[in-house]
């Protein structure tokens, strides 16, 4: 269990993390979502005691990170896959971490095997691809077989096979009763792995909810209509008691409605329709709407948020 209470980090004038309060509980994968620069990595560094919070507190099972006597067997973290001395071999890199925490050398071979780096264990880390570096970082996180795991953007640089592997790994780690806290800026990725969701934007907490709730509340469905006889259709739909929203351009949108009754209604009144399509807003779109609003909150609050067709390429995620 990781507990954050009013966690704040300021760099001069800039507030990187603003009064974050939430908990990460064991047994599930908790997704930590936010656009680039939202403060995810800063938050993770504060959890690990690397950065000192300006205000607030973060505790791991009730203790500060630097009070842990056996840090690696307690919490394993992948922060930055490049946080490795390039001149050192993968084996020696893991060996010096293991020795520092009294972890037997045999465990180094085990984790190298788990992440599939056994063949290149004696190769220098600077020759590693991004994906191999990511695997080495994950090996370091798993080294102490810890009860809490924290991954910062673990799928970066991984190939599809690697992405599938890390998803399965995270789920199985959580199923063993471990706390898994994983950050990402991709909603679609989180939707596949996380059970709980913490969303931040500009260092502020935007949502702290279960993934199921988030999907239920954010997967908005609507019917999109285009017609040359706009005024007539509006009258007809109004008479039928259907609420219409004027979207951008010529389009009209009916929230939560079905396409069939609208089509039949238009046909009965002889109205020409150029488009009648049921639409489903993607989670990615919902996430962007959520975070974009947090950005705009500071600038100009009256502006409409993200255009409706933003994130269209993610639809169905």
């Amino acid at each position: 269990m990781i507990e954050l209470e009013g966690l704040t980090k300021r760099y001069g004038e800039k507030v990187a993390v603003n009064n974050l309060t939430f908990s990460v509980r064991p047994g599930i994968v908790t997704g930590f979502l936010g656009p680039n620069g939202a403060g995810k990595s800063t938050t993770m560094r504060m959890i690990l005691g690397l950065d000192h919070p300006t205000a607030g507190d973060v505790r791991i099972d009730g203790r500060h990170y630097d009070q842990l006597k056996d840090p690696l067997t307690y919490i394993g973290a992948l922060l930055d896959a490049k946080a490795v001395h390039g001149g050192r071999s993968a084996f020696n890199h893991l060996l010096c971490l293991a020795q520092g925490n009294g972890i037997p050398t045999s465990r180094v071979h085990e984790v190298l095997d788990t992440v599939g780096l056994t063949a290149v264990a004696r190769k220098k880390a600077k020759g590693f691809s991004l994906g191999m570096g990511q695997r080495l970082g994950i090996a370091g996180a798993l080294l102490g077989d810890p009860r809490i795991l924290m991954f910062d953007e673990p799928v970066n640089g991984l190939d599809p096979e690697g992405i599938h592997w890390i998803r399965t790994l995270m789920k199985s780690l959580a199923a063993q009763g471990r706390t898994v806290f994983v950050s990402s800026h991709l909603m679609s990725e989180m939707a596949l792995t996380a059970e709980h969701l913490v969303v931040i934007g500009q260092g502020r907490l935007l949502a702290d909810t279960t993934m199921a709730d988030f999907i239920r509340q954010n997967s908005r469905s609507y019917v999109r209509i285009r017609t040359p006889q706009r005024e007539r259709l509006l009258d007809v739909l109004h008479e039928a008691g259907i609420t219409v929203v004027e979207a951008g351009g010529e389009a009209l949108e009916v929230e939560g409605g079905k396409a069939e009754p609208i089509g039949e209604l238009a046909s009965r009144h002889g109205i020409v329709l150029h488009e009648l399509s049921p639409q489903q807003a993607s989670l990615e779109e919902a996430f962007m709407r959520l975070t974009a609003e947090s950005v705009e909150y500071h600038a100009h609050s009256e502006t409409a948020s993200v255009p409706r067709d933003w994130g269209a390429d993610w639809k169905g995620a």
Partner: protein
């Protein structure tokens, strides 16, 4: 706030359920790996693996030994072939080791800086500090491992050169070095150079930038002497004298009792000077390490 924000459940609504998680407040996975309470010994083992598993250690120490032994033997050979009976009479041959050690000390400085600063350059420091959250322990372990390595290598190289030179110059009328001279010319100077390396390690931890810290240390090593050489003004005579006497090359030569001047540090003084400076810098580095973000 924009009017379209979808309603989000707040943390407070979900929190009570979490507390009620079965199996006590902090239940979860229990590892079969035995939990070990870590101490300085673990950090020392870790740093020992680190220092011996990078090529820069082999390079800097290799060049160091090459310089000390090579220049030392060369100096011995030149002196022995040209020596007339009066030339070296009454002088200790140990002083011939000075040239190699002066140049070689730059290698030790470089290795010292790299031990700490390279971790900041590569980002490894975040991994290190995550594995060992006690920052003071990390600095202490690095310092101890580096100091021992630097001292042992310097002692071996300087002793070998000293013994070879004494035997090479045997019969040229040289003074047989006394026990105290042997001690100062081997153990003393090795302690001095290892401490100079430790100071570099500490500066590396403060500056967090390899090139910057190496430049500072090389400057500290050579600048006072070079500046003093060009201080011709009479009114600066005192400053010039102090710079000469306390410059690191002159402090090194004090260990061979052939200082540039009769005043200034003598005997074991240079060792106490470098010890004091290193201790002060170490205290500063320790305090900075605690207060700064990694």
């Amino acid at each position: 706030m924009s009017t379209h924000q979808p309603p989000m459940p707040q943390a407070a609504e979900a929190a009570p359920n979490w507390q009620a998680a079965p199996g006590g407040p902090y239940a979860g996975y229990t590892s079969p790996i035995p939990v070990v309470k870590t101490h300085l010994g673990h950090a020392l083992a870790s740093e020992w693996t680190k220092i011996k598993s990078v090529r820069s250690t082999m390079w800097t120490l290799g060049v160091f030994v090459l310089l000390v032994v090579g220049i030392g033997l060369l100096a011995g050979a030149v002196v022995s072939s040209n020596a007339s009976d009066s030339d070296m009479s009454g002088q200790s041959p140990l002083g011939l080791g000075f040239f190699g050690l002066l140049l070689g000390s730059m290698c030790i400085i470089t290795l010292g800086v790299l031990t700490t600063a390279s971790e900041y350059g590569t980002g490894m420091i975040r991994t290190t500090m995550t594995a060992c959250p006690s920052r003071g322990r990390v600095l202490a372990a690095k310092g101890i491992v580096f100091f021992v390595v630097a001292f042992v290598v310097t002692l071996a190289a300087s002793s070998f050169v000293a013994m070879t030179q004494v035997s090479m110059l045997d019969g040229t009328g040289i003074k047989d070095p006394s026990g105290a001279e042997w001690l100062k010319g081997t153990v003393g100077i090795s302690l001095y150079i290892a401490l100079l390396g430790l100071l570099s390690l500490v500066i590396g931890s403060i500056i967090r930038h390899s090139a910057g810290a190496i430049t500072i240390m090389i400057g500290l090593l050579l600048a006072p002497l070079v500046i003093a050489l060009f201080m011709f003004s009479q009114s600066l005579a005192d400053v010039r004298q102090a710079l000469l006497e306390y410059s690191i090359p002159n402090q090194l030569s004090v260990f061979y009792a052939n200082s540039l001047s009769d005043t200034g540090p003598s005997g074991w003084d240079p060792l106490w000077i470098v010890l004091g400076v290193t201790a002060a810098a170490y205290a500063g580095a320790h305090a900075l390490l605690q207060s700064r973000d990694v």
